[in-house]
């Protein structure tokens, strides 16, 4: 089956230099995918109506899993029967999204036979999204996928598919094994991933360094971000090469040949002002460095993170629903991340127990911390309060003392008071 509907508006999107999804979908329709032809038709209708044409939700899935499939039905199925059902399957991507084409073709083949031919590479959480399946295809797709060694990702009030930056695989700044952490956690928590049993969703994202290339600090309930606690490694010869203009500023990010003014572009922009350059030698007062990465980014051939590496754990990032967006907050300033990550996992279990016990329906852990207080959370995780957890100490005087902190406790008799103070 080929193109079925006139799409004058969508056709406008075939123009211009950026690759056109419309042209692409048309090609897939031409290649015989009815769903694609109808998808274009329904989308054109949306462009006319300025409203989407999908029904609300729909409970579909595969047996034994509570998630991994998002049900979707057209609200104009008569006109576009090819997308009457248009469910998505979230297929758990390999950590950091390297693919061997041979393995990827396993999915492509299944999807070609049983699905719409449409995908998102990738969804915002990181999954491979198979976009547009009929209900009766879900189980067969699942069976074939698992037989080939692929599994579904998360949805609903469950652990969501963890994801990570490229890290040590192709980046010199990876302070932790982002991919192994991502994979290990995914494997360890398969049950949490596939069987929603929590107040709401929970996301892990793993970045190898504070540049945070997987945006974990904005998008994951638990961010694991690589860092170091010793000194930045300096190659003074390379510093001189930057100073002399032989090496391009910022790893060429501003064009090859861009000369770095070390004082102005590096030292002056260091947030802690802990660097000094005398025209020859660069000095860093590492004790004051907050490991922001700026200087390293600017001079990748001269500076490198230290070698005593680990991760900073931040908790609570999320989008605005309900109480407004949050970013992750530092809970563990530094933790060694070494396989099998037991110390980290113990922390995770404590955190989840507390959330599970106290969280209301559809309350993310970040919101629960907001509601019950950061201190309560820290206590539940059996951590000591330390100033690294906050930007600044409280400025309001409203401290909730507990009875056991105050000599004599809270119980008092008004009669005693009145003995000293007439009414």
């Amino acid at each position: 089956m080929a193109i079925k509907h006139q799409t004058p508006m969508l056709d406008e999107l075939e123009k211009g230099p950026w690759p056109s999804f419309v042209t692409d979908i048309k090609a897939q329709a031409e290649a015989g995918k009815d769903a694609c032809a109808d998808l274009l038709g329904q989308l054109e209708l949306s462009y006319n109506d300025k409203e989407g044409h999908w029904k609300h939700g729909g409970i579909v899935g595969v047996l034994g899993y509570g998630g991994g499939v998002i049900g979707r039905y057209s609200d104009v199925p008569d006109k576009f029967p090819g997308v009457e059902h248009f469910h998505t399957l979230r297929v758990n991507q390999p950590a950091s999204k390297f693919y061997k084409t041979e393995r990827l073709r396993e999915i492509m083949d299944i999807w070609d036979r049983r699905g719409s031919g449409m995908l998102n590479m990738h969804g915002s959480t990181g999954d491979i999204i198979l976009l547009g399946a009929f209900t009766e295809q879900l189980e067969p797709i699942f069976a074939e996928l698992t037989r080939k060694g692929w599994d579904l990702g998360g949805s609903g009030s469950a652990l969501r598919t963890p994801s990570c930056c490229v890290g040590k695989a192709r980046c010199e700044w990876g302070c932790i094994d982002t991919q192994d952490i991502c994979y290990n956690l995914t494997q360890e928590f398969q049950d949490e991933l596939h069987r929603p049993a929590w107040p709401y969703k929970f996301k892990f994202k793993v970045s190898g360094c504070p540049n945070d290339c997987v945006a974990s600090i904005a998008r994951s309930d638990c961010s694991i971000i690589g860092t170091w606690r010793d000194n930045i490694r300096i190659d003074q010869k390379a510093v001189a090469a930057y100073a002399g203009g032989e090496l391009s500023a910022n790893g060429g990010a501003h064009g090859q040949g861009t000369k770095l003014d070390i004082q102005k572009d590096v030292c002056d922009l260091c947030p802690t002002q802990c660097m000094a350059f005398d025209g020859k030698t660069l000095k860093i007062n590492d004790a004051e460095c907050t490991r922001c990465m700026h200087c390293i980014n600017m001079m990748p051939q001269a500076l490198r993170p230290g070698t005593d590496t680990g991760a900073t754990i931040l908790i609570g990032a999320k989008a605005p629903i309900l109480e407004g967006a949050q970013m992750g907050s530092v809970i563990i300033p530094f933790i060694k991340m070494e396989e099998p990550y037991d110390e980290f996992k113990e922390f995770v279990e404590k955190m989840w127990d507390w959330w599970d016990e106290n969280g209301k329906n559809r309350e993310r852990i970040g919101e629960l911390i907001q509601r019950l207080g950061l201190s309560a959370f820290i206590k539940a995780c059996e951590l000591d309060p330390i100033p690294q957890m906050i930007k600044e100490p409280r400025s309001n005087p409203y401290i909730f003392y507990k009875e056991d902190e105050v000599p004599g406790g809270f119980e008092r008799q008004i009669e005693d008071y009145r003995k000293r103070h007439a009414r």
Binding site: S46, L131, K168, G174, A218, M327
Partner: protein
């Protein structure tokens, strides 16, 4: 349905290293530094001296098997059958020798649909969501707007001429399935009409207490309408978040006139120099203008151009706006300031100006 006995479950994804080309396997954790040879092309150098050359191409994210097969074929022919996607849905092809770069680039060029770029101080791919292609709550489309904006900003995708990286993202509703709340520029689909209520079916389709509890501003109350148990929405307290609709299909918000785009600026995720920042409201509302959303496209270009001209090198949009002051940002971009820019939600008071320090503007 497959026999339960045979079912394979909980196996997780394939292990990552199975997907690695040899050069990555050999040099895992040994990379020493990198260099962007030209926009879209980078080299990473290992402590061993080995090099991997990466060519990055713009990805449409929403794609078909036709396109994915095209990508696989290039990977097969040039990269030993390996490639990867970036966290922003670009496609990266890696080769282990500089001599393989030009042939690879040519092959990519020849497709016409794999533009090279997205690195360094430019605009990379827009992170986006489903829009009218799949989701049930969108106020806007996703892919169509992304295409229109990327067409317009294409010159910045394949070049390194901005003061710093500019990360644009799009989410089609307030659920914000993407880092829209922390992006240099964010395109956000917003509703502006309270839910229209299907009283005759609400009680059947929804749990009334959960629906009421879903509203962050307590705008929803139980109500009886024509003998139907239903709910009523206090329109004055509604800020169109759509959370009620998420819980209850009998309360749709979508509306051709009500829905459109809000633009946000100055967010960032990296811990580089300044701490991560939320995006701030730039333009509260631009109508939906399919198929090419010209007003949105123009507004974004204006912000990018004013920024490009005015910011210091190595300064992200949010760092620039804070340095010059938001009052100056509005003046320089010519964006109108309105009541909508003044926060009135929970932490509003932290955004007021508690100082005589400000700049005069025209």
């Amino acid at each position: 349905m497959a026999d339960m006995a045979e079912r394979i479950t909980d196996i997780g994804p394939p292990k990552y290293d199975e997907m690695w080309p040899q050069i990555i396997k050999d040099n895992y954790g040994k990379w020493a530094h990198h260099d962007l040879l030209e926009p879209g092309v980078m080299v990473h150098v290992s402590e061993s001296g080995a090099k991997v050359f990466t060519v990055r191409c713009g990805g449409t994210r929403l794609m078909t098997l036709v396109h994915l097969e095209r990508i696989c074929k290039i990977a097969d022919e040039h990269c030993g059958g390996f490639f990867r996607f970036t966290t922003r849905n670009n496609i990266e092809f890696m080769v282990d020798d500089q001599s393989k770069v030009e042939p690879l680039k040519k092959a990519l060029s020849d497709t016409g649909v794999l533009p090279i770029g997205g690195t360094g101080a430019g605009v990379t791919n827009i992170v986006h969501t489903q829009g009218w292609v799949h989701c049930h709550t969108p106020a806007i489309d996703a892919s169509g707007i992304v295409k229109s904006v990327m067409d317009d900003l294409f010159e910045y995708f394949g070049s390194h001429k901005l003061p710093a990286q500019v990360r644009i993202s799009l989410a089609c509703c307030l659920n914000m399935c993407g880092a829209v709340h922390c992006s240099d520029i964010s395109i956000l689909g917003v509703h502006r009409k309270p839910p229209v209520i299907e009283h005759s079916h609400l009680d059947k389709m929804c749990e009334i207490p959960t629906t009421i509890a879903a509203c962050p501003t307590a705008a929803i109350k139980p109500s009886k309408v024509d003998d139907f148990k239903s709910v009523a929405v206090n329109a004055d307290r509604c800020m169109f978040c759509g959370n009620c609709y998420t819980m209850c299909p009998a309360m749709p918000l979508a509306d051709a006139d009500g829905d459109g785009i809000a633009l946000w600026v100055g967010g960032k995720v990296s811990n580089t120099r300044s701490m991560p920042k939320f995006s701030k409201l730039a333009i509260p509302f631009i109508p939906n203008e399919p198929p090419r959303w010209p007003s949105t496209v123009k507004a974004i270009r204006n912000i990018v151009e004013v920024y490009a001209k005015d910011a210091n090198k190595y300064e992200r949009i949010g760092e620039w706006a804070e340095r010059i002051g938001w009052e100056r940002f509005f003046e320089k971009t010519g964006i109108e300031f309105s009541h909508h820019h003044i926060d009135d939600y929970r932490l509003a008071m932290t955004t007021w100006r508690n100082s005589t320090q400000f700049k005069f503007t025209k």
